[in-house]
């Protein structure tokens, strides 16, 4: 199964730990996971445990505009994309969860 996740809250919000746990569990069961970060959610790429999701095969895309506005710098393995990418994820996945 393909799982899509939208996360738009800061790393201090409990949503982040929920998304990390869901992503780890999904990957453990062999599901594909694509996360789109926007608004304050872009800060999550600076959290080690979150960025570590890349190593277990999670696809992470960040809204480049929101990242630029928040001075979040580019990171290896993370696509700095746009709402087009968000729409492509939403269309492609079987289930889509939104944490806002």
């Amino acid at each position: 199964m393909k799982l899509g996740i939208l996360l738009s809250t800061t790393p201090e919000n409990e949503n982040t730990n929920t998304v990390i746990s869901i992503s780890r569990a999904a990957r453990k069961h062999g599901h594909d996971v694509s996360i789109f970060l926007m608004y304050d959610g872009v800060y999550n790429i600076n959290k080690k445990e979150f960025a570590g999701l890349i190593e277990i095969g999670v696809n992470i895309t960040v809204c480049a505009l929101n990242a630029e506005q928040r001075k979040v710098s580019k990171a290896e393995g993370i696509l700095f994309g746009s709402q087009y990418d968000h729409a492509c994820i939403a269309e492609d996945v079987d289930r889509f969860l939104s944490f806002g």
Partner: protein, 74 residues
């Protein structure tokens, strides 16, 4: 003759939306020349348009904040 579209002052997602809407007015094979002054758009709009089958003929940076993207409609 290429059609010109000035998107200076526009930011994502309107940079992509307005480019796509303009492309819809063109015939297949016609070229659109778009001006951007928003750095993230210069990476994302061409990538998204390629994903939709259009051909990126060139990306030219005129100065620190001005880019010209030439697109051929699929």
């Amino acid at each position: 003759m290429a059609i010109e579209l000035d998107l200076k002052g526009e930011v994502c997602p309107y940079t992509f939306v307005k480019t796509k809407l303009k492309l819809e007015e063109l015939d297949s094979g016609e070229e659109l020349v778009v001006t951007f002054d928003h750095a993230p758009a210069v990476e994302n709009v061409p990538r998204s348009l390629k994903n939709e089958g259009h051909k990126i003929m060139g990306i030219e940076q005129r100065n620190d904040h001005l880019w010209i993207v030439r697109i051929r409609k699929a």
